[in-house]
């Protein structure tokens, strides 16, 4: 019976296809979150990062990760476990990141990911975004020697871009608006993109301005490359988790807000212990007492320990400290705070009240 045999032969393929689609049923009500249970029983947070982007997430020679995104992972681990080291980083390229999150391979993304409508919506990628940790914009970098000063000078020239990013779409939109013909050369990883740029295949490379600055800092001759003044887009880089576990999304959201709020209240990694002692001693400081978990049940409402803010700030410092350490003027990236200042200093970093 060759026909039946053929069917039997094909069935493993169908099975594999079908099993691949069997997502586990969502569940759990109230504060209980299936994802948080999984993470707790595993004993560590699996965090999806870039891993090759200095200042955001970068695997150093000693095997440890550093950067603003890596510190976001650490802050969430500190909130969950009281221990920032309980993170397993997973390097993801821009094409695999959403699939890795959707399949549950990683618990959250802190991978310089731009928040957009189609990524957030249930009918699109179906992500749940936290608060934006870095307000960025897309820029273009070209060699100083090329004499390129603006987008117009790029007419008819090849431009390197990483595929699977919002960057490639913004590039298409901006060039279409200004009717500038160009050739997009798409590569799957940042390494290949910048290798092709440094190899001279394209006259320019486009990405988020922070990423261009970060990559430039690792070039053999950073001074030979210039960022064009054109800013092509808004790129709010935002941590994300999968849609469908609101309690887990809330835990990430308010851990990041705690970093913002700590800076606003002047609580730093160095003085958090003193502030805690002060809050415990002085019953009149209700705001501070609630924020640090001395009174009230904010932690419990989020499914986190009562003192999660103390643990988070004690582990990674407040937002301002994280920024300065990783990407600020004192770091190799030398980025200004600009839009990433606190709201009361003219920036966009704003924490809703801890109430």
């Amino acid at each position: 019976m060759p026909r039946l045999r053929r069917l039997l032969f094909a069935s493993p393929l169908l099975l594999a296809l079908a099993i691949g689609g069997c997502a586990d049923e969502g569940g759990g009500g109230g504060v209980q979150s299936e994802k948080m249970e999984t993470i707790r029983s595993r004993g560590k947070l699996v965090c999806g990062v870039d891993g090759k982007l200095p200042g955001f997430s970068f695997l150093g020679p000693d095997g440890s990760y550093s950067g603003l995104d890596a510190d976001t992972c650490r802050a969430v681990a500190a909130a969950l476990f009281g221990d920032p080291s309980k993170v397993e980083y997973r390097d993801l390229n821009s094409s695999e990141r959403f699939a890795a999150l959707a399949s549950g391979e990683v618990d959250m993304l802190a991978r310089n990911t731009t928040m957009t409508l189609s990524r957030d919506s249930a009918g699109g990628n179906g992500l749940s975004f936290g608060p934006t940790t870095f307000y960025d914009g897309q820029g273009v970098m070209a060699p100083v020697a090329s004499g390129i000063k603006s987008l117009k000078d790029l007419a008819g020239k090849p431009i390197c871009v990483e595929s699977g990013t919002t960057t490639e779409l913004n590039l298409a939109d901006r060039m279409r608006e200004q009717a500038i013909p160009y050739t997009p050369l798409k590569f799957q990883t940042g390494d290949q993109t910048y290798a092709a740029y440094l190899g001279g295949r394209c006259v320019a490379v486009t990405s988020d301005r922070s990423q261009l600055a970060a990559k430039r800092s690792s070039f053999p001759d950073p001074a030979a490359h210039v960022l064009l003044p054109d800013v092509m887009s808004k790129e709010p880089l935002t941590p994300a988790s999968v849609n469908g576990d609101p309690a887990w999304s809330d835990a990430i959201r308010w851990t990041v807000f705690a970093l913002f709020q700590a800076e606003e209240l002047g609580i730093t990694k160095a003085n958090v212990a003193a502030k805690l002692a002060e809050a415990k001693a002085n019953t009149n400081q209700a705001d501070l007492r609630r924020f640090l978990g001395v009174e009230g049940d904010f932690g419990k409402q989020l499914g986190l320990p009562a003192d999660f803010v103390v643990k988070v700030v004690g582990a990674v410092g407040n937002y301002g400290e994280i920024f300065e350490r990783n990407v600020g003027t004192g770091s190799p990236l030398k980025l200004e705070r600009a839009e990433n200042r606190q709201w009361n200093k003219g920036g966009l970093i704003y924490s809703p009240p801890f109430r």
Binding site: M1, L4, L7, L8, S11, L14, L15, A18, I19, G21, C22, A23, E25, G26, S94, S95, F98, A99, A102, S118, R119, A122, G123, G124, N125, G126, P158, C160, S163, G164, T165, E168, L169, A172, D173, M175, R176, Y182, T183, P184, L185, K186, F187, Q188, Q192, A195, A196, G199, G200, R201, G244
Partner: protein
């Protein structure tokens, strides 16, 4: 003792195999139905049930090179078609190139010239034992990106190798033979390939060529020695013996082996994304990123490669029937 009149049905050789087969088929069908039902239920819950409407929406991204007209305002299906055409172009030229190279190297193994024999051997052993992805990255980043633009480009008669592309001479309008020329510091030629395409083709051809060479060598080895001797005794020189006596008899052995090499070349062409060539996979990846329709995009990809490979198999099977020795 009287013989039993009828055999009970559970021991009937005409019934039992049908029952067993039927039972197995039923179980398989039920399992598939359960899994498919589960898939549909979960996808519905996630709002990701198969939908193809997005195919008609504007792609809003550009593709680096295209044989058919394309711009960012055209729909996704058109972008995917551009990718498919680019893939087919690489596959078809790759098949021809790998066959020519492989046949030459395979025949070289029987050359009277020791140097040619050894060179062929070294080529096969080196290329066959290095991963294709590494070879592609080598061809692109190390070889092709080291060419220079403008007057410093590598210039051969009728061919110019520059960082901006590979320029070939061909007949221009009116059957006028036209070579590459430098116009305002930019090379122009009747035929231009991007370096991405050139790197992909070089990688695919040299890699698959090594495997084809082994298949051809094996095919020739299968021809009895007596055939060589007979051809030589008729006064045919090496080339004529090979062409008229040995190769035709080796073909029935070679063709089935080539089939799987051709299929693997078609599949390997998806590695184009590593060297920035806008093939089907590369375009599909951008499409997936924008639409979030992972399942649909991957079904299209699976279907496209399956059809390409089945077509290759079909053609090769037809060819195989043609060259089989007819026993009379």
């Amino acid at each position: 003792m009287p013989e039993p009149r009828t055999i009970p049905w559970w021991r009937d050789r005409r019934v039992v195999p049908w029952l067993v087969q039927g039972g197995v088929a039923l179980v398989v069908l039920v399992v598939i139905a359960l899994l498919l039902g589960n898939l549909v239920r979960n996808l519905t819950a996630a709002g990701l049930l198969l939908s193809w409407r997005w195919l008609g929406q504007p792609a809003s991204f550009d593709v680096a090179e295209s044989l058919i007209p394309f711009d960012a305002a055209m729909p996704y299906w058109r972008a995917l078609l551009v990718g498919l055409v680019n893939s087919l172009r690489a596959i078809l030229i790759g098949l021809v190139g790998a066959t020519l190279l492989g046949t030459a190297v395979g025949m070289a193994a029987y050359s009277g010239n020791g140097l040619v024999r050894r060179l062929g051997r070294v080529y096969v052993e080196v290329i066959r034992n290095i991963p294709l992805l590494l070879q592609l990255l080598f061809w692109y980043f190390v070889v092709f990106l080291s060419f220079r633009n403008g007057t410093e480009a590598l210039q051969l008669p009728g061919i110019v190798l520059a960082k901006s592309g590979l320029y070939l001479a061909w007949f221009a309008e009116g059957w006028r033979w036209q070579g590459p020329a430098l116009v305002n510091g930019v090379w122009q030629a009747p035929w231009r390939f991007s370096v991405e395409f050139a790197a992909l083709l070089t990688g695919l051809i040299t890699y698959t060529g090594a495997f084809v060479a082994e298949v051809v060598r094996g095919g020739i080895a299968a021809v009895p020695r007596g055939q060589w001797e007979a051809a030589t005794s008729l006064g045919l020189h090496w080339g004529a013996s090979m062409r008229t006596v040995v190769l035709p008899q080796a073909l029935p052995v070679i063709i089935p082996g080539l089939n799987s090499q051709y299929i693997s070349l078609a599949k390997n062409s998806a590695l184009a994304v590593a060297v920035g060539y806008a093939d089907l996979y590369s375009v599909a990846e951008t499409t997936l990123n924008q639409t979030g329709r992972a399942l649909e995009v991957f079904l299209l990809l699976l279907g496209a490669y399956l059809v390409i490979d089945l077509l290759i198999s079909l053609v090769m099977n037809g060819l195989n029937q043609l060259v089989q020795i007819r026993e009379r």
